[in-house]
Every structure is written in structure tokens, then in C-alpha cells.
Symmetry: C2
Amino acid sequence: MFKDATIDEINGSIELAWKAFHDYRKLSLKHRAAFMKAIAVEIDALGTSLIETAMKETNLPEARLMGERARTIFQLNSYADACEKADWLEARIDTAIPTKTPPKPDLRKMLVPLGPVVVFGASNFPFAYSTAGGDTACAFAAGCPVIVKAHPAHAQTSELVAGAILKAAEKCNMPKGIFTHIHSSGFEGGRALVTHTHVRAVGFTGSFIGGKALFDAANQRKEPIPVFSEMGSVNPVFLMPEKLKESAADIAKMYAGSITLSTGQFCTNPGLIIAVDGNDLNIFIDKLGEEIKNIAPGTMLHPGIAKLYNEKRISALAQKDVETVSVSSVAPKENQGTPTIATVHAHVFLDNPVLHQEIFGPYSLVIKCKDANEMLEVAKHLEGQLTSTLMATVNDVRENDELVEAVKNICGRFILNGVPTGVEVCLSMHHGGPFPATTDSRYSSVGADGIKRFARPVSFQNWANELLPDELKNENPLHIWRTVNNELTKDVIK
Amino acid sequence: MFKDATIDEINGSIELAWKAFHDYRKLSLKHRAAFMKAIAVEIDALGTSLIETAMKETNLPEARLMGERARTIFQLNSYADACEKADWLEARIDTAIPTKTPPKPDLRKMLVPLGPVVVFGASNFPFAYSTAGGDTACAFAAGCPVIVKAHPAHAQTSELVAGAILKAAEKCNMPKGIFTHIHSSGFEGGRALVTHTHVRAVGFTGSFIGGKALFDAANQRKEPIPVFSEMGSVNPVFLMPEKLKESAADIAKMYAGSITLSTGQFCTNPGLIIAVDGNDLNIFIDKLGEEIKNIAPGTMLHPGIAKLYNEKRISALAQKDVETVSVSSVAPKENQGTPTIATVHAHVFLDNPVLHQEIFGPYSLVIKCKDANEMLEVAKHLEGQLTSTLMATVNDVRENDELVEAVKNICGRFILNGVPTGVEVCLSMHHGGPFPATTDSRYSSVGADGIKRFARPVSFQNWANELLPDELKNENPLHIWRTVNNELTKDVIK
């Protein structure tokens, strides 16, 4: 529908972004924040046409899309507030001590923007992790121009949102090139974006294959650049003995909802459930199976995702010693994903890497362990995850210290007695995790700490106060928190 | 002299470090800090034997080594204080809002250690960037065991320091495997260290070839890990017109000292000096040449470095249109490096990548530009640097905004009217910079912010207060700064 950008067009847009970078990074935090808030206003102003377009392109229901739009607007506004508040800048000041031998110079440090950022949007979040989603908002807050490659599965939605960003850019007098929206269907366009010398960071949400290819391309550049790929996760859930005995049926009910929410199309979908085999686990499995039977298949985001889900699901169920426990009793229509639960013994799971893979959709595998030691074995052999969950009483936690530590060690968010689906947008959220969940476990793609992905520190040594950026001036004109001579303070330096 | 570790021995030491990791990371910040301070005490207790050994191995003078030992002890003590103070943990808390739709869970985030860290020491800092240097201190503070590969040029010095660390480990009841010291002369040992599945980060200070090889090996692992290679820099100095007119001779004198300090063997050595051609620059060059003539060659760290310096220096001076301005009037003895200054016109520099390379030793190249625009061209074409310096009046800075921004954009530390040599150890120091100065411009290898290199965030969702780490408990038992519901505070949560 939309014409692919040529390589020349891609290079041209990056050159423009590079020029814009030199103007944009000099704008005040207040000005950046105003731009971000203007984008939120323009997205809101798109009204029902945006929701209708997204419904057509993604098959997601209206309520979900309205919620996601509200979340996207909240992200833009709250990251704008965080941008202006400037905690993320990590301002540090050590004043001179001329009497020291050798004399200690005045040193002041803050984060500065990296340069133009390329964003690849996610198919499953057409607003919140796409064109004006978290990556774009964080890059703008950090002081970086953005080039978005539209996700082909919701290209029209992306066009509408891009239009809103450009409208806001014009209203706020942003430099030309602050934002570019391009379409590109093959890998060549993506490669051209990631390998251009003036692109300085990449945000990506999607498959392991796509995210890893970008990471590799970026590291093979003459000047490697950071790639923040969020690539999915099986989000293991550990059902601990005492908790399972207390409430097997309740947990099953809660998890049937989490596994099938949005037809399982969340990167935080619980794909593995681990427990000690026995009567309590049987009660859980029976109840989970019963619930799953009653949940109808849902239409997936696009035919490609539905096809992949069904192929991977069939392949997983066909693995040696995997037993299918329950399948939705309603037959799937075209492009629908069928809720499915299977079980396997831990020793089989440990020996078969196919069973460790994410199956993007409403599928979960229950791993039966012969004892607590085998649960620990499973925890130690799991790959990096966005989330891990313990369903546990206080005793369960206290009596399984080694397991608790092992589970914490593989994840970015550690949940107690809850479900992993549902990612709150706030500063204490970490949406990230050890490889292969992401390519950089040190950074979050949700919450205002995500701004730091697109910035780096610079120390100013011996600069006259009048020549320093406002963030570092003696009089603290922005009234921000700074660490001055090792103490956090908002005080003026005398 | 020392036997190379076998691959089996290397793997065994990593397994031990991995085991130690599970115990060490559970220790309190106080306990970690006590261990680090005990190392400082044990290093001090080595007394003159340490200095004498290092003098023999590195050819560095006694005063320099005593200063460096004091700096190493200061690093250990001040990073220990920072570890305990816990600002680096970035504790963030958002309390639950059960009345929200959907209910907002309690979320609390802090940094946790990555796992065993491998450190490759620097030849030019036998104490401060080697066995118990900044990387090791930061890793211990973060909660990570350390495996040090001794630098072969000061293997005996490294042995002594390793002994001090192990003594402190024993006194502080550290787990076995918290620290291992190995010798390995080929690349195979280094490769085995960096590619082992249980190694989770690498610190390196040295050549571009070595640092880049480790970076590539780490990124090609099944699970890539961060490599913090600090690989050197030419540290450009821009002499601005008004300042040059005011004080060409004084600047020349100051820079003659900086270029030849420690026989130029600093990663912050000023290797490029850029100015507009003309009478003021001629005064500067004449004075610099005069000074350099009077500075005697110094014995370099080891024969390999001396050989490389002389080869690179000869090759640079032989490049087309490079003019030798001044060479020390004292003939060099074996393994000495001769202070040398050359000049070249900017258009020649821009076209010849050989002239952009670091020449590790007392060498500097003056680049003559035909006007301010050509200075800007040079700034835009320089690679990433640890430092950049402006010698400038307030007017010079104000009238050359584009140049100032371009220079800031390529460096990690931006100095006004000073010399880049001399790296203060404090929180506001950024010792890092865009590639190829380092492999990760976002992190510093000097100052307590360097601790963050070896840690990653984990969010705890919905955990009972009694089960949370002390850092995140309601009562704030460690009395640390935390961001609670978006506000920095030390307050208790009620």
C-alpha cells in the first residue's frame, strides 16, 4: 500500500536527522517537554479515526486500543515531566580544591544525547511501542531526533500517528528532520538505517531473529552503536508447594485469564509453569484445563503471526513426551489462535531446547518436577527473561532461598503472587532482562529510566559558570536535584 | 616467569567464581565495603617491596608509583563508601494504588550484580587500572566476583597485589572464588575467559586491537555480554584565536609538560593540537619546539611499547607533507621514547587516516587550519575521544558555538583552559567516550559511577515488605536515598 523508501531516501532522512540533532539538543528541557506534550495532544485529536484504522489493521478490540492510546498519551506526558525534572540527567558536581596537590579542578557531569535514533515498532502494540511509543518518547526526551520504520502490519495507523508527530513538530518550531517516518518491507532498508554512520542508537521490539540481526549489524559497524532489542520471553511461573496446596484452583483461574489475555499476544505472557508433581499440581492442571476449554480462540494480529503460532504450537505438542492437557473447545476460524495447555516432565524439558522457545500466543507448558531440587535445576537452566513469577507463601520463599535467588538472577521483573501480563508505566518498572529477553539487560523500555538509553555522560572540566549548561550552573536555575560534592541537593552553589 | 594457566584451570576458576557469586551478592553493602577497605589496608601493608617490584617491572619512577598506590587505595576506600551509600543502586519505589483500574501493584526497583567479571589490567597503570584497580573495585562494590588476568609486563607486581586481595578476602570471610589471579600470555586464555558462559562482564584497558577483539568475542557469544574496553585516544586540543593571541607562549609551555608527562604514556595524552595558521600559531609552535628540545627522552614501560612508539612515530613523520618541528636534543638510550612535535596542514590531515591514530608516547601533531571553518571540519571528522580541550576566552567560546558543540559531541570529558592529563577520581569524572575511545560511551571507568557497569536493574512486584531486600524495605533501614512515588527522599514509607 505504501511505497518502500529507497536507500537514497533513507540516507537523506538520516542526514536531515543529523542536522536536526545539532539544533534539537540545544533546546531546553522545557522546550523538549512541550514538544512531547504537543504530540500527545495531536494523537488525542486524531479521535475515532485512529482507533478505527488500528482495529482494521490489528484485529485488536476497540476497548484495548482505547486503553493503549491512553497509555501512549500517558507515556508522552509522564516522560515529558521526567525530562523536565531532569533526575535522569544525573547531574554531578565536584567543586575545585585549588589547595590540593595537584590542584583539584572543578568538574561537572551530565548526560547528553547520543544522536539520531532509529525505532522499529512492535506489531502487538500499534500505539504504545510503535510510532510515538516508549522508544520515540524516550529519544525525544533525551534530545535525539527519531526515524521510525513503520511496522508493515499497521502501516496506515503508523501514518496517522506520524502525521500527529509532524503536526506537533511544526507547532513547536522543531527543526526539520526531528522526525521521519518511512516504510520499508525488506531487511535491506532496516540494515541501511542501522548501519548509517549518523545513526547512534536503535530501539526495537519484536522477534528474536529480527532483534538479534539488528544487534549484530550494529556491532559490526566501524563504530558500533547500542541496540535495545526487546525480543520476547517465556516468563516462567514457579508454583511453590505451600501456596499450591492452599490455592491451586484460584491460581489456575487467574492464570487461564493471563495466558489468553489479548490472545496471548504479550511479551510478558506466562509460557512456562513449573511445580512439583503430585496431587496439588493435578488439581491446578485440571482446573486450568477446564478454564482453557471454555475460552474461545481469538483472531490474531495478522496472518503471519497466526500462522507462526499454529506451526510452533503444533511442533511443540509433537515433541517427544509432551502431553496435551487442554485445547479450547471452540474450533478456530481463519487467523485465530487456539488456547492450549500442555505438560512435560522436567527432565524432558531440560534436554529439549525446542521447549524453551517462546510460542507467541495463548499457549503455556506446565513442567512437572519430581522435587524441589528439580525445580531448582529448571530455574538454573532457563534463559534470560523479562519476568519471572513466584506463587508462594512467606514460608515458601524463606525455605527456598537458593531457588528464589536463581529465579531472580534470570529476570528483569520478579513478581510475587500475581501475573506477569500488565506492565505498569512508572519509574520503578523494569521492562527488560538478561539476554535473550533483550540485548542489554541494563536498560528498560518502559518508565522514564528508559530515557537513559539514548544518552551518555560528559564531564565539563574547569568551565566558567556562565558558559556551562543551565543544568550545571552554580545558581541551579532549573532547580533540579544534583549530587554536589557527594551529597544530593537542590541547593545553589556559593 | 609465571606459568600460563591451562584452559582447564581457567574454566575451573570461573566455575568457582560463579559459585562465589551466589554467596557474595547476598552479603550486605556494609560487608562488601569492609572487604574493599581491607584490600586497601593489605596493599598498604605491602610497603616498599611493592614499589620496588613495580619500579623494576615498569621503569616508572618511585614518586609516580607512590602516587599511584595512594590513588589505588583512595579508589578502593571511596568506592567502598559509595557502595555503602547506595546512590548507585538507583532505588525506586512506587507504592500500590489498589483503587486504580486495573489496580496498580507495588513496584520496587534496584540494581543487582551481573555475575563474575573478568579484568584485563593496563600496562601503564600497574596499580590503579590493574589487579586491584578501578575495574576490580567497581565489580566488588557491585557484588561481583573478579578474575584478573595479570598484565605480563608487571606480572610480579600483580602477584603481590593479588596476594593482598586474597589476604583481605580471608580476613573478611569472603567465599572461595571471590577473586582469582591468573597468568596467560596468548590470546587463547583471554578468549576462554571472555567466552565462558558464567562470565558476565569484562573490563579492559589497553590497545584498540586487544579491546576490540574482546568486544567482538563477547558479542559473538550465544549470550552476548558487556565489554568495557578503554582503548585510547588522541585527545585533541583546540587553540582558539583570541586565547592564542593572548598567551601562545604560556600554552606552549604548559603543553610541553603535558605531552611529555610520564614519557607520554597516558591515555589522556594530548596527541593533536588544532589552530588557525598564522603568526600566533607560529609563536606557539616555536615555543613548544624549544621546550620539547630541552626535555630528555624517558625509558618506556617495556621494550614492546618503546618499539611500537618508535615505529609509529617514524611512520607518522614519514607521511606526505608532515613536517617535523622539534625532537628532543638528547639522544635516546635503549627503550626510551623521544619527545617529538610535528605539523601538518588540515587538508592533509583530513585525507590521511594514519595521522588520526594514537601514537602512545611523547608525541603531538599540530594541525594548521586555514580558517575557523577548517577547524570545524577537523572537529567534525575526528573519531570518538576520551577528552577534548578548548584553549579559549569567553568570547572564543561564544563566537564559535558550532565548533564547541562539535567538539563536545566527540568526547567524554570537555576541558576548558587546562590539560587533559590528570584524571581526578570523583563522582563527576567521566573517563570514557564515544567509540573508538571506548566500546561503551555510556559508562565511566573512573569514579563511583563505574560501579553501574557491573549491575542491572530488577523490579520487585507485589513483594511482602519482610521479603524485600533491605534497600527497598518500607522502613529504609539503610537510610539511603530512594525515589519514592517520583520524589527523591530518605523517608520511611508508611
